[in-house]
């Protein structure tokens, strides 16, 4: 299936959880905030939140800024 990850289409396996998706990309869930279909997902719910075809996922972190 395909999701929109950070604005770009990306292939991923069916019914994967957000946590697994982050793991595959080697992203530390403690360092990022995840928005799934425009809703923020609490860290403790990353495991139980499953991705569906066409979902939008934003993974945000802190960078330098003024």
């Amino acid at each position: 299936m395909e999701i929109i990850f950070n604005g770009k289409p990306r292939e991923t396996q069916d019914s994967i959880s957000v946590q697994e998706f982050l793991n595959q990309l080697q992203l530390d869930c403690m360092q990022v905030v995840v928005e799934h279909n425009r809703s923020i997902i609490a860290r403790q719910r990353l495991d139980e939140t499953l991705l569906n075809h066409g979902d939008t996922l934003e993974v945000i972190h802190f960078v330098g800024g003024g």
Partner: protein, 256 residues
Amino acid sequence: MDELIIAGRSFNSRLMVGTGKFSSNEAMVAAMEGSNSEIVTVALRRVDVDNPQDSLLQHIDPKRYLLLPNTSGARDAEEAVRLARIARAAGCEPWIKLEVTPDPYYLLPDPIETLKAAEILVKEGFIVLPYINADPVLAKHLQEVGTATVMPLGSPIGTNKGVRNRDNIAIIIEQAIVPVVVDAGLGAPSHAAEAMEMGADAVLVNTALAVARNPGAMGVAFRKGVEAGREAYLAGLGKQQDKAEASSPLTGFLGS
């Protein structure tokens, strides 16, 4: 003790620093340490999985610095509110530097969208520090909706031009019931000192530190500028006038 108090929280330093544009994390930390700052700003962006970087936060000691996330990149109120919520979900305290800058060329803040976002964020319990053009009427409206500061720009972000709108900033300071933080455009310690001499409560500096040959030393220089300006303000500056007024006595000249 001359403390800066924002939303009931006291700070010894009146110099906030940004963390953008540094050549390395080491340079950023040197500038933060040199400046003696207690509030540092950070931005939120999408992770770049093709170019993984180490975490910015591991370089910022949360016991020493209050992390002030900004909403840079937001083009309207909705995007700014979204970014603020993301910052809070990251585990930050609910402090937010509200920036809404739809124009990428001058990066001037949108007053209407900023006010809209401020109203929503204050209601949601955020401590809102809005970045604004030096507009005293807007500053008043923002204070009325409950922002913790107002942050008028000295000149556009990253221009290093200093305080180019003195008269309006002076009105904002005169009328303010919350701390006034002059943000953006301060390119030299003298600019920071100027803002503080005028009675600003604090300043925020980023580019001038990040582009310095020695960011740590520039942090020290800005700290001194801010302290000098603050002390001069408290000590009471003399009024400017057109006619000379002798410092030495005008009587008892030789041969008179």
